[in-house]
């Protein structure tokens, strides 16, 4: 069975509401006049469950014409996420310019059409530009040079 949008969003709201209820179960409920830390979160979590139920009902109602099935572009998702994570992992070791250049070069696997010369130029340009903008112009405490042997 393919997942329709209303059904997928219903599942999301159920899961989110349940997660809040479970992880927030130790929070103090209080009374309506003197609400504890758990009062409003529980109220909203139940709200999420209601929204989930309504969306599930709609999915059932529209089951004959489910519309566009939910699909993910995994390649783009993984690529962009990997770039950001790589940036975070490399920065403390390699410093800003090298990290920027390396991260940009990895986009060569994006599947988009590209040529090496401009890509390398962009990598170099961005490395210089971000360093100048953030480290020199805005004077932020960002590590610039690689940490050798660290």
């Amino acid at each position: 069975m393919r997942l329709s949008q209303p059904l997928a969003s219903a599942i999301f709201f159920f899961a989110f509401g349940a997660l809040v209820l479970v992880t927030g179960r130790s929070l103090d409920m209080g009374t309506t006049a003197e609400m504890g830390t758990g009062y409003v979160p529980r109220l909203l979590a139940w709200g999420c469950l209601v929204v989930g139920a309504l969306l599930a009902a709609r999915a059932w109602w529209e089951r004959r014409a489910p519309g566009e099935p939910v699909a993910f572009a995994l390649r783009a998702l993984v690529l962009v996420t990997a770039m950001v994570v790589a940036f975070g992992l490399l920065l403390p070791w390699l410093g800003l310019p090298v990290t920027v250049a390396l991260t940009i070069v990895t986009t060569a696997v994006s599947g988009e059409r590209y040529r090496w010369t401009p890509l390398l130029l962009i990598a170099l340009g961005m490395a210089v530009l971000t360093t100048l903008l953030f480290s020199t112009a805005l004077d932020l405490q960002i590590q610039v040079w690689p940490k050798w042997g660290g």
Partner: protein
């Protein structure tokens, strides 16, 4: 009246310092530069550029942010006209007739009309803000916790109803947003909630991380996965100035659009989006020959462009005077102001009048810079549009990474942004909008605080929302909106309005 002039003079003295003029200019330029890139709307642009403004003084930062906002808005219109790729819903309307004009070789006239109409709307809206914001903030002094709670709920519901997408799912997204906003230290008791021992979110989840992930990264992922064919209108853009006939038809449309925008922008849930849609359908209805619309009618560009700029600026009024953002862009502005220690609301106008009036005047200056900057630079924007996405997206990703890291110097924020990027993309795919979430996220803590205070004062009785006349009116309006949404007839009309 005299007070207004002395206030505006104060504003000019703040906005016209060399430093603030420069910030305004940089903001407009950067905003347009990023906003022009296809598929990147004002929300994404503003979230990406937020970190740059953090290290400036509050006045400069807010002036620059406002500049970024207009720039992004105008940049979006440029993209809509030239390549029919509206960055955000606000430019969808502009694309309808603007792109057709471009295909007829009148791209220059369309761009100039958009710029001039926006400038006109900006001038009027600035004056409206100067009058309305102080007046509204006086009304706000009558507000108690019950009124603020009711107003916030109305604003959130209205924002959902007046935006595209499924209403039920969007209301759900607001609640998810409020819940995410509650993560961290509880304002009232100082206790930790949903922090799971992660020290970086003990305070609360950083707004920049959420905005950059949900709007910046998620937008890039969506753009990467959908292959757009970008066809630039062939031929050079030589003739910029609109013809006499264009002026004759366009001017009244721009005036009507401005009036619509100034009115709709102030309402909860209002702003640029609703205003431009409303203006387009108004112009179509008023036109002698409605069939011209969708085929390059100048009114279809002048009206909505004036309306969206007026609406965008008018939505500053409730944000500044009440501290309540009517839409997601203003939520971003509020979050940015809060980071600088500036809390918008009735007190803000009274206590920080140089900052307030400086901002108002700089809005007008920003609009002026937009016109002066954009007409000569059209050629540059066209060239920018030709850059293939394969080269563009790594630059944007890197910019987000460095930007989010520079806010707190925490690698944790970079990873969390990646998480919110994935979250935002998944939300998009399952048909949930991220904008209501961000609105809820920003309003969440305050909403909870006012709600708790209301019921503390009323000793736990919910009738307090109905016995106070102001709050009862607001609750009534909310209920009315929800009832309207439940009516099949109204729902169909709303769907048609967004499809058009």
């Amino acid at each position: 009246m005299g007070e207004i002039f002395s206030n505006l003079a104060l504003g000019f003295s703040v906005a016209l310092t060399l430093q603030n003029l420069m910030f305004c200019f940089i903001g407009v330029l950067l905003g347009t530069l990023i906003g022009v890139l296809p598929g990147i709307g004002p929300l994404a642009t503003m979230s990406m550029l937020l970190p740059i403004t953090f290290h400036l003084d509050p006045t400069g930062a807010l002036i620059m942010l406002a500049g970024i906002f207009y720039g992004a808005q105008y940049g979006g219109s440029t993209t809509a006209i030239l390549v029919n790729l509206p960055g955000e819903a606000t430019s969808v309307v502009t694309a309808l007739d603007g792109y057709q004009m471009a295909r007829q070789g009148r791209a220059g006239a369309a761009l100039a009309t958009a710029a001039l109409a926006s400038f006109f709307a900006g001038c009027v809206a600035t004056i409206v803000i100067a009058f309305a914001a102080p007046a509204l903030s006086k009304v706000a002094l009558l507000f108690g916790p019950a009124e603020f709670t009711a107003l916030m709920v109305l604003g959130l519901i209205a924002a959902v109803v007046l935006a595209a997408g499924s209403v039920i799912a969007s209301i759900g997204m607001v609640m998810v947003g409020v819940l995410l906003g509650l993560v961290g230290t509880d304002v009232t008791t100082g206790e930790q909630r949903f922090a799971f021992g992660v020290r970086e979110i003990f305070d609360s989840i950083d707004f920049v991380v959420v905005a950059m992930g949900l709007f910046g990264l998620a937008e890039i992922i969506s753009n990467l996965s959908e292959r757009h064919s970008r066809t630039l209108p062939s031929g050079k853009i030589d003739r910029l100035w609109p013809t006499k006939e264009d002026f004759r038809l366009g001017t009244p449309a721009a005036v009507r659009g401005t009036a619509l925008g100034c009115t709709l922008g102030v309402l909860p849930g209002g702003g640029a989006l609703v205003s431009s849609f409303a203006s387009y359908s108004l112009e179509k209805r008023l036109a002698k020959d409605p069939t011209r619309f969708g085929k390059g009618a100048i009114e279809g560009v002048a009206g909505p462009e004036a309306a969206n700029n007026a609406g965008a600026q008018a939505s500053f009024i409730p944000m500044l005077a009440l501290g309540i953002p009517p839409n997601a862009v203003m939520a971003l502005m509020i979050a940015a102001m809060t980071i600088h220690g500036v809390i918008p609301g009735p007190k803000f106008l009274a206590e920080q009048s140089p900052l307030f009036w400086g901002m108002v005047v700089s809005m007008w200056i920003g609009n002026l810079i937009l016109v002066v900057l954009n007409l000569p630079l059209v050629g540059l924007w066209v060239r920018l549009l030709k850059i293939p996405y394969a080269y563009l997206f790594p630059m944007i990703v890197i910019f987000c990474c460095v930007g989010v890291y520079s806010v707190n110097y925490r690698l944790f924020d970079v990873f969390m942004m990646a998480g919110f990027g994935v979250f935002g993309y998944v939300l998009r795919r399952i048909g949930c909008e991220a904008a209501p979430l961000v609105l809820g996220f920003v309003l969440g803590p305050r909403l909870e605080e006012e709600f708790r205070r209301t019921l503390l004062l009323s000793d736990g009785s919910f009738t307090v929302f109905l016995t106070r006349p102001l709050s009862a009116t607001l609750v009534g309006a909310t209920v009315l909106l929800l009832v309207l949404m439940a009516l099949p007839n109204f729902r169909k009309k709303r769907e048609v309005a967004f499809k058009e």
